[in-house]
């Protein structure tokens, strides 16, 4: 194809997206669209999968059967989210194995938030409330993104997220209405998860490189800073109901804008975590790679069994 022909196809393609038409896997698409989607969707999938680890840490120690059942269901949902996204991503021509390879070798990133440790039960509350809360804000606009399989996966994910956030908030509520020690535990969890949750919504607009193209392709509908503001504005009143204090002395309602002004985010910390130097990066990757490698014999055995059954069937027929 000549450059002119490609340029023409690109124009038609962009116009389709501008008209709110969906792009399906077998449609022609610019190479950059394919690559950007593979990157974003696989990293989104990796985040769901690695995101199971900090919470999986507490399943066996949940304080009641009710909490245990809920946490187990939530973590199972996150596995499901990872699987929806991996299979949506595979429609673009990358294999599941390649994606795992990229995750396990550190070539692909996942959300920085999952590199923080979960040290008390209250962290299960804070994660559901704040981390899933921030994830919802990020994901809802993606239900209308231009790539069909991604949009459909997001619709399913978003339906399931609301339970995640509510069960987390309920944990916080229970702790805040409990003993002073329990309330202190909830406050401590908020103190540790607040800033990482704000960072989770991504670098400030000034430093965000992909935004303009992503807006065009509806991979993004609001900027990181807008999403962050939305998150803060909806979360502060929820903290008030819990009777907890947001760990930001500069947080203040601004009558003029109708939003909360907030303090400086420590972006150095964010970049450190992204580059692999967060408190739990190594631990997460070790657990993930370990699970994959130690599960190899199970995958092989299942495949060997399937092949044996297939042969038996063929024998019967012949």
């Amino acid at each position: 194809m000549s450059d002119k022909e490609i340029k023409n196809l690109e124009e038609i393609f962009e116009a389709r997206i501008a008209r709110d038409e969906k792009i399906e896997p077998k449609d022609w698409m610019p190479e950059k669209y394919r690559k950007t989607h593979i990157r974003q969707m696989s990293q989104h999938a990796h985040s769901e999968i690695v995101g199971m680890l900090p919470e999986g840490n507490w399943i066996t120690r949940a304080p009641s059967l009710r909490r245990k059942a809920a946490l187990l269901a939530k973590v199972q949902d996150e596995a499901g989210h990872g699987l929806y996204l991996y299979s949506a991503c595979e429609t673009l021509g990358i294999s599941r194995d390649e994606m795992y390879e990229q995750l396990h070798t550190g070539k692909a990133k996942y959300s920085s938030i999952f590199n923080y440790p979960t040290v008390t039960w209250a962290d299960m509350g804070a994660i559901g409330w704040l981390v899933d809360g921030a994830a919802i804000i990020n994901q809802v606009p993606l239900c209308n993104t231009s790539f069909g399989p991604y949009a459909r996966a997001m619709v399913r994910v978003c339906k399931e997220e609301s339970f995640h956030q509510r069960q987390g908030y309920e944990i916080m509520l229970k702790l805040c209405n409990g003993t002073p020690e329990q309330k202190e535990m909830a406050q401590d969890a908020l103190n540790r998860w607040w800033w990482p949750s704000l960072m989770m919504l991504g670098p400030t607009d000034a430093e965000s490189i992909h935004t303009e193209q992503s807006m065009k392709w509806k991979l993004k509908r609001k900027s990181n800073d807008e999403l962050r503001q939305q998150f803060i504005d909806q979360t502060v009143p929820q903290a008030d109901i819990l009777g907890l204090t947001i760990p930001d002395p500069d947080l203040k309602f601004n009558e003029e804008t109708g939003s909360y002004d907030f303090g400086e985010i420590d972006w150095d910390e964010f970049w450190q975590v992204v580059k692999g130097h967060g408190p739990s990066n190594k631990k997460r990757m070790k657990a993930r790679v370990g699970a994959w490698e130690e599960g190899a014999w199970v995958r092989d055995a299942a495949m060997a069994y399937a092949e044996k059954q297939e042969k038996k069937k063929l024998k019967k027929v012949s």
């Binding site: 077998k26 299979s87 092989d300 399937a306």
Partner: protein, 118 residues
């Protein structure tokens, strides 16, 4: 593969077995397309795909991945390689012939307003 291990195998003459084993090991679970009927009276609809060693496992995995909240009463699984899909680049010759056949639609026919129930 570990080099010493390979040499050891060559020496013991079991290389054929080893190669056989190695090819088995690198075989990945195939991809399956999942179709779910959400309730009786509705058709099966494509829900997504997943990897599984065989059809039975694909059904079980589909139950866990796509129907955790009673989204279905029946599941079909089809190995993805068995699906033949039309090519969107040929949409013209495939679908355009239907476009100029307006006489296939009821509104094409002129009837007086007095005619009821038609």
């Amino acid at each position: 593969m570990n080099q010493d291990f390979l040499v050891l195998c060559l020496e013991s003459g079991s290389v054929a077995v080893l190669i056989q084993k190695h090819t088995n090991m690198s075989k990945n679970w195939p991809l399956w397309e999942i179709f779910v009927r959400s309730k009786n009276g509705l058709e099966h609809r494509h829900f997504g795909s997943l990897h599984a060693a065989d059809a039975d496992m694909a059904l079980e995995n589909a139950r866990d991945v796509y129907t955790r909240r009673s989204e279905g009463v029946s599941i079909w699984v089809v190995e993805s390689k068995n699906i033949t899909a039309s090519n969107p680049e040929h949409n013209g010759e495939l679908f355009e012939p239907a476009q100029d056949k307006v006489y296939r639609h009821p509104t094409f026919y002129d009837l007086p307003d007095e005619v009821k129930h038609m």
